[in-house]
Amino acid sequence: MSLLEIKQVVAGYGPAVALHGVSLSLEQGERVSLLGANGAGKSSIVNVVSGLLPVRSGEVWFQGERIDGWAAHRIVGLGISQVPEGRLVFPKMTVWENLELGATSLKDTVQKSQLLEQVFELFPRLAERHKQMAGTMSGGEQQMLAVGRSLMSRPKLILSDEISMGLAPLVVRDIYDTLLRINQEWGVTLLMVEQEAKLALEVADSCHLLESGRIVASGPADEMAKSELVRKVYLAED
């Protein structure tokens, strides 16, 4: 049984249809990235999984449970957590408060403080600045906080959306390294949306290419990197 299975999902915003019958599945521990131009439907897929975008038809299954139609706040409790596009940290709250909020779905306070320690270990920066208002931190620090916050719900699956947006390459690299570490050490499955095709192919095991709300190509990341289509259009190679 796959960890996550999306079957023939149609979804959209208002009159616009963003996904025209998309199907894909993720296995436990996999790292999958979604590739495509702006508006191809990458973010819509993660938003469908996290419950922010309702499906019009099709099904979403997680660990054998059908979750399409569930409210976003319920889905978090299953172990799906999202690092949203634009980070969406709570700017007028401290780093610590942001992290605490990440653990809203957890009841066990011991587990909570253990997680907090682990997050602080992964991102020492956050430990140093735990009393600082999130809105006053740099973009990179806020992205670390967004990732750290998503870990606070002890997720099985992390959906990340445009981590690299507006950040210096070194910082981005740092954050992806941490995500890969989480994948290796905690066994967390990753579904990543990444605009930077090169990066997307590098950090993932496998990859789906989207165009106008449809998956047009899928395969292992190294094979995809070699494919004509990807190289020409997304890696901008000659």
């Binding site: 922010l52 706040h73 978090v76 999202q82 969406l88 709570f90 909020l101």
Partner: protein, 283 residues
């Protein structure tokens, strides 16, 4: 006379702060004005009146009953009316104005036209240096108002519920991704705001009188306070409440009611010209 003016200003400020607290909270969380705030103030006052003067419960037991009952009334109001329309500013405004008018009109039919009094259990007069006097009930209501405000600060600033409320206020979508039921959090915030209004009614009614319109004037004052303080900012509304208390006291005593009022509003307008978002508002 100076001492008396200072004491009166402090007492009025505390009362204003208490009345404005629930309104600030609801605005802060939902970014929506609740024009029915005065109705809950009035209902709190009426409930206290009926519990003490008609049923015969001790005053503080009645207040406690208000604290128990009004969260339910607030949540029901939020679920039944407010939730459906809170997305649109004008709709929320109009609908709550409708509730205000309806409830006030209904109140005169249900509660009768005779103005009522609720007596505070602690009576007497405290003589202060400088020839000032302070009725004991005003002192106690002022102190309780400060205690309630401290409670609000603690709840919003330090508890998990407070964090959730602030998260919903800052970004309801992100709050959902944290596992927070944004609708339910707003309902809780609304219920809390309504309870604060009712509690203010139960306390302030002991100083003045109770009738179905008794919430309107305090509510309008509370609106001035939350605008002056910076919409939704709790600290701002505390500062604004005391500013208004001192304006009313010093203005009324030194210049007479009309001139004092005129000067007071002039000052409010002046502050807003230089800081349109209010004293503690975001730019």
């Amino acid at each position: 006379m100076f001492m008396q003016m200072a004491v009166t200003g402090l007492v009025l400020g505390s009362i204003y702060m208490l009345v404005a607290s629930g309104l600030t909270l609801i605005y802060g969380i939902m970014h929506q004005v609740n024009m029915a705030h005065g109705v809950f103030f009035m209902l709190g006052a009426m409930a206290t009146y009926y519990a003490t003067e008609v049923i015969g419960l001790p005053y503080f037991v009645a207040l406690f009953a208000v604290v128990l009952v009004f969260p339910i009334i607030g949540a029901a109001f939020e679920r039944g009316i407010f939730r459906n329309i809170r997305h649109i500013w004008l709709a929320g405004y109009m609908a709550t104005v409708g509730v205000w008018m309806l409830m006030e009109g209904l109140g005169w039919q249900v509660f009768g036209t005779e103005q009522k009094a609720v007596s505070f259990p602690i009576t007497g007069l405290i003589r202060l240096p400088g020839g000032a006097v302070l009725p004991a009930n005003k002192l106690w209501v002022g102190l309780i108002a400060i205690a309630i405000m401290a409670g609000v600060y603690y709840l919003v600033g330090r508890t998990a519920l407070g964090r959730q409320l602030r998260a919903v206020e800052q970004n309801p979508r992100a709050a959902e991704l944290m596992g927070i039921n944004a609708d339910r959090a707003m309902a809780k915030g609304f219920a809390l705001g309504v309870t604060l209004a009712a509690l203010a009614g139960g306390l302030v009614s002991t100083l003045y009188s109770v009738d179905p319109s008794c919430g309107s004037t305090p509510m309008l004052k509370a609106f001035i306070i939350i605008i002056l303080g910076g919409l939704g900012n709790v600290t701002g509304s505390v500062i604004a409440a005391y500013i208004l208390g001192f304006i009313d006291s010093f203005g009324g005593s030194l210049l007479g009611y009309q001139a004092g009022h005129f000067m007071g509003f002039g000052l409010v307008i002046l502050i807003l010209i230089f800081k349109p978002s209010g004293i503690m508002g975001d730019e």
